[in-house]
Symmetry: C2
Subunit: 501 residues, 2 copies
C-alpha cells in the first residue's frame, strides 16, 4: 500500500528530489533568481537582508579580534597572477579576463570591444596577489606588523556548473589578509579566524560545523595548510562553509613582503587569508528548511514576526489595523541580540490563509494572526515556523525574545542530531563502499569517520568512483592513530569522508 | 616684503598648489594610495572607515524612506547595453570589457587569455540595463509597484585622468533604482532622494550643497531630468556630490518594464535612479582640510578622540596607561549619534609631539594629551582639530559629545560662509569672463549666479574657453526670470556656473 502523501507547500519534497527541492525553496521564498549573465545570480531583498545580517555580525566579530576593513582593486594585472605558480594554476581555468577598455561601432554598425589593453586584467577570483603587492609597500619593519585587514567584496570564478548561493560565477564574500612577524603568530591567526567562523555558524546560523584541516589535494592553491568548517546538509552531503589558510612565506616571497626584524635583519612575512561567502546562505537554507519552504534561524532572519490582520468585516478593519500597528511599534522597540525586532504588518489585499502560507514559505520565525475576537479577548495565538503549521502557542508580548531564542536553540539541536545520526565510524573498505553507494535515488551516506593514511591517488580514485572526498582531518577528535582502512598502514589519522557541495 | 611663511604639516599649502596639497593630505592621513592597476586606488583602513560610516548612515536613510537592498550582477551583456541608444553612447568610451573566461599557456610559455566569450560582457559602469532586465520580469501589475531598491556595489568607468576619491576607474557607490506607476510619483521619488543626499551632506559631512537641476548637456545618458547636489571646494571649484535621475519611460521601454494598470491596460513603468559614491570622501576632504592635513567632521570621523599618554618616567608609565585605558573604556560607553564614541589610546613607541602631529594630519576631531601632573591634578586639556593646534580647552568627560557637536557645527558654518563669500551674482558677460580668468596661478572664481537661456553651443564654448560649466539650475531660488547675460534673451532662468571637478 502506498504511503498517503501529505500536501506540502514545496514540490518536489526533499525526499523526492533534493536539488529541485532546493531551487523550489529559493523561488517560493523569493530569495534569489538566475540572471541573464551566465552563472550569475540576482540576490533579491529577502535574500540580501540575510547577507546584511551575516555581514553585520561577522564584521563585528572581525573588529573585536582586531581587524580593520579596507578596499583593494577589482582587477589584477595578469603578470601579478603569474608570480605564484601554484596559485595561478589553481585559478587559471576560471578567470574572467578584461582585454579592452571601450566600445566602438564595428563594420556592421554593431558595437565591438576596442582599445585593447597592453596587459590583460583578471577580475579578482581572490585577492592574495593584489593585496600582497600593497602589503609589500606597507611593511618595512617588525613595528608595522601584524597587518590585520579584511575586505568585503565581490569576486568572480568562471564556474561551469553553478547553483544559486552554493556556486556562482560572481559571488559576494569577505576575505581577510594578514601578515605576521612569526610563523607561530600566523598559525594562531589562521586558527583563531576558523574559530570565529565556527562560532558564527553555531551561534547565528544554528549550523553545527566540524572544524578541521584539509588534506593536500583539497588545499587552497599556494597555501601551506588550509583549515575548513564543514556542515552536513539534509541530503547528508557536506558543505564547506568557510576556510582559513596558513600561507607560510609563499605569498610573501612572490609579492616581496619583507620586514626588518628586531635584530635588524630582513625577513619574509608570514601570511594568512580566510574567507566566507554568500554560500553561507545556501548552507543555512539546506540545513534547516523543510517541505513547506524556507526556515530562518531567528538571529539571522530577514524579519522575526509577521503580523497578519484577519479582517472579516469592514467595520472591524480600522480597529484591527490600528491594533496591529500599535503592537508592531511596541515590538520594534524590543531588542533582540542588539538589534530592534524586525516586525512586518502584512496589509496586502489577499486572503489570510494565503498570507500565512507566503510567510511560511519565506521562513519567518513567527506568525501572528490577529482576528477581532481573539484581539478583544486578549488571546492571540502565535505560530512558530519550527513547529507544524497548525500548532499555535498563546502569544505574550514579553515572551517574544524567549520564543525566538527557543526556536534558535531548537534548530541547532535538530541540525546537530541529524548530523550525529548520519556520522558513522567506518573500519573497513567494504562498509565504506556500501555506505556511499545508493540503492536507487534515495538520500544515503553521510559523514564517514575513517582512519586514512593520506594518499592523493586513493583520494582521486574515491572521488572518481563514489564522488567522495576527504572533507577534513577534524580538530576536535583525540586522534588515536589507527590502521588506514584502504592500505592497512598503521599510525593513520582519522578523517571525515563525504560527498560534498 | 615677503610674508613670513608659517610652517605647516602639509607641503605645498592650499594656496601654493591646491591639487598637490590634496594628494599630500591623502598621503599624510594614510587614507588611500594609487594601486598598480591603472586608475584604481587602494582605500586604506583610515579612509575606508569613513566610507563605512557613510554607508551606515545613508543606508539607514534609504531604509527609512522605504527602500530595500538587493544585489545584481557585475557584468552586463553587450547586447543589453545597446538597447538604450543614448545610454550606451554615454558610456561606450569608458567600458571595461571581459572577452575571455580563462587563461592558458601561450606559445612562449606565458599565460594568455583563452576561452573567448560568445558575447562580450561589460563590467557595469552603472546598472540601469541589468537591473531593468530583472524589473521587467518582476513587474506585472500595478500591485507590484512601486519597486524601491538600492544596491551597494563597485562600478568601473575607464577614466583617462583619475584623481583619488574624485575620479577613479573603479569606485564604490550605491545606486537606487525604482519603478513607479505614475510620472508624478517617479518625479517625487527623484526629488525625495535628492533631498536625502542633501540632508546627509549638511548633517553629516558638514557640507553645504546646492540642490539643482542639470541642463541637457550635463544630464545622465538616457535621463529625462538629472538633479544634482553641488558643493564648493576650497579652490572655489564645484564638486557634484550626488545625482538623482528621473528616467521617464526611456529605460522601461528599452528593458520592457510594463504593468497592468487598475483599468487592466498595459503601461510602461516610470523609473528613477540615484547614486552617491566614494567621491563624497573627496568632497569632505577638500571642503574642510587645512594646511596641517585632514579635518574630519565628527559625525563621520573614523575616530573621535585620540588619547596620547605623555610618559616622562618609567615609574609613571603604568599609572598613566591604566588611567588612559579606564578613561577610554568609560568614553566608549558614551553614545554619539547612536554609535559608541570611537576612542584610540595611542601607545606607540614615539615622542608625544610626533604622535600629536600624526593625529592632526589624520584629522581626528579631538586630541587629549595625558601627562602625570595634569592627570593627578584632574586638569586635562583637550585640543580641537578645528582650532589652532596649540589652543587647548579644559577637558570634561561629560562635555565630550557637546564638544564634538560644536566642532561639527563649526565646520558647517565655516564651509557655508566660504561658499557664500565666493558666490556672486553676475549680470554681464564681461564680469563673467573676468571672474573666471586667473591673474596668474592663484585660486580665483567661485559660483557665478547668472541668468542664462539654456543653449548647448554657448555651454560648449564656455567649457572650451574657461573650463566653466553650468553646475545646475538651483531649486532654492525664487527664479525671477531675467535677461540671459550672453544672448540678452528675456525670461531666462538663473543658473550657477563654475569650474568643476
Amino acid at each position: 500500500m502506498q504511503k498517503q502523501k501529505v500536501r506540502t507547500a514545496i514540490t518536489p519534497t526533499r525526499e523526492e528530489n533534493y536539488p529541485e527541492w532546493y531551487q523550489a525553496v529559493l523561488k517560493a521564498a523569493d530569495l534569489a533568481e538566475h540572471s541573464a549573465v551566465r552563472g550569475c545570480m540576482v540576490i533579491k531583498p529577502w535574500g540580501y537582508s540575510i547577507w546584511e545580517n551575516i555581514q553585520r555580525i561577522l564584521d563585528g566579530m572581525f573588529k573585536e579580534t582586531g581587524h580593520q576593513n579596507a578596499y583593494f582593486p577589482l582587477f589584477i594585472p595578469l603578470s601579478y597572477m603569474e608570480k605564484e605558480a601554484e596559485h595561478v594554476e589553481g585559478f587559471a581555468k576560471e578567470c574572467a579576463v578584461v582585454t579592452h577598455h571601450r566600445l566602438e561601432k564595428g563594420p556592421n554598425g554593431k558595437l565591438i570591444p576596442a582599445g585593447e589593453l597592453e596587459e590583460p586584467l583578471i577580475v579578482r577570483p581572490t585577492s592574495e596577489m593584489i593585496i600582497g603587492h600593497s602589503y609589500a609597500k606597507w611593511v618595512e619593519s617588525y613595528r608595522d606588523l601584524p597587518i590585520l585587514i579584511n575586505q568585503w567584496a565581490n569576486v568572480v570564478r568562471w564556474e561551469m556548473r553553478t547553483r544559486m548561493f552554493l556556486r556562482t560565477t560572481e559571488f559576494l564574500w569577505q576575505e581577510g589578509h594578514t601578515v605576521h612577524a612569526t610563523k607561530e603568530e600566523a598559525i594562531e591567526e589562521t586558527k583563531k579566524m576558523l574559530d570565529v567562523y565556527s562560532t558564527f555558524c553555531h551561534q547565528y546560523l544554528a549550523l553545527p560545523v566540524i572544524r578541521g584541516e584539509k588534506t593536500e589535494s583539497e588545499r587552497f592553491p599556494g597555501a601551506v595548510n588550509t583549515y575548513t568548517i564543514e556542515a552536513m546538509m539534509q541530503d547528508r552531503k557536506a558543505l564547506q562553509a568557510g576556510t582559513s589558510h596558513f600561507l607560510g612565506q609563499n605569498f610573501s616571497k612572490s609579492c616581496g613582503i619583507q620586514f626588518r626584524n628586531v635584530a635588524g635583519e630582513q625577513e619574509y612575512g608570514w601570511t594568512t587569508s580566510w574567507g566566507a561567502t554568500t554560500r553561507l546562505i545556501g548552507a543555512m537554507i539546506m540545513a534547516h528548511s523543510d517541505d513547506d519552504g524556507l526556515v530562518l534561524p531567528p538571529r539571522i532572519a530577514s524579519a522575526h514576526l509577521a503580523i497578519i490582520p484577519i479582517i472579516h468585516s469592514e467595520e472591524a478593519r480600522a480597529k484591527i489595523l490600528s491594533y496591529c500597528d500599535e503592537l508592531s511599534s511596541r515590538l520594534k522597540k524590543v531588542h533582540y541580540h542588539g538589534q530592534p525586532l524586525r516586525v512586518i504588518v502584512d496589509v496586502r489585499d489577499m486572503r489570510g490563509g494565503e498570507k500565512s502560507w507566503s510567510w511560511i514559505k519565506k521562513g519567518i520565525p513567527l506568525r501572528l494572526e490577529v482576528g477581532l475576537r481573539e484581539m478583544e479577548a486578549g488571546q492571540l495565538q502565535v505560530a512558530r515556523r519550527d513547529k507544524p503549521h497548525k500548532e499555535m502557542t498563546p502569544f505574550a508580548e514579553e515572551g517574544i525574545v524567549h520564543l525566538l531564542e527557543e526556536i534558535q536553540a531548537n534548530l541547532l539541536a535538530k541540525a546537530t542530531a541529524f548530523r550525529d545520526q548520519h556520522t558513522v565510524e567506518i573500519r573497513d573498505e567494504k562498509t565504506f563502499k556500501e555506505f556511499f553507494t545508493s540503492k536507487g535515488d534515495e538520500i544515503h551516506g553521510g559523514f564517514a569517520l575513517c582512519h586514512f593514511s593520506e594518499d592523493a591517488q586513493i583520494e582521486a580514485k574515491l572521488k572518481d568512483e563514489f564522488n567522495v572526498t576527504v572533507r577534513c582531518i577534524p580538530l576536535h577528535l583525540p586522534q588515536k592513530p589507527g590502521k588506514c582502512i584502504f592500505t592497512g598502514k598503521a599510525g593513520s589519522t582519522q578523517v571525515i569522508f563525504a560527498k560534498a557541495y
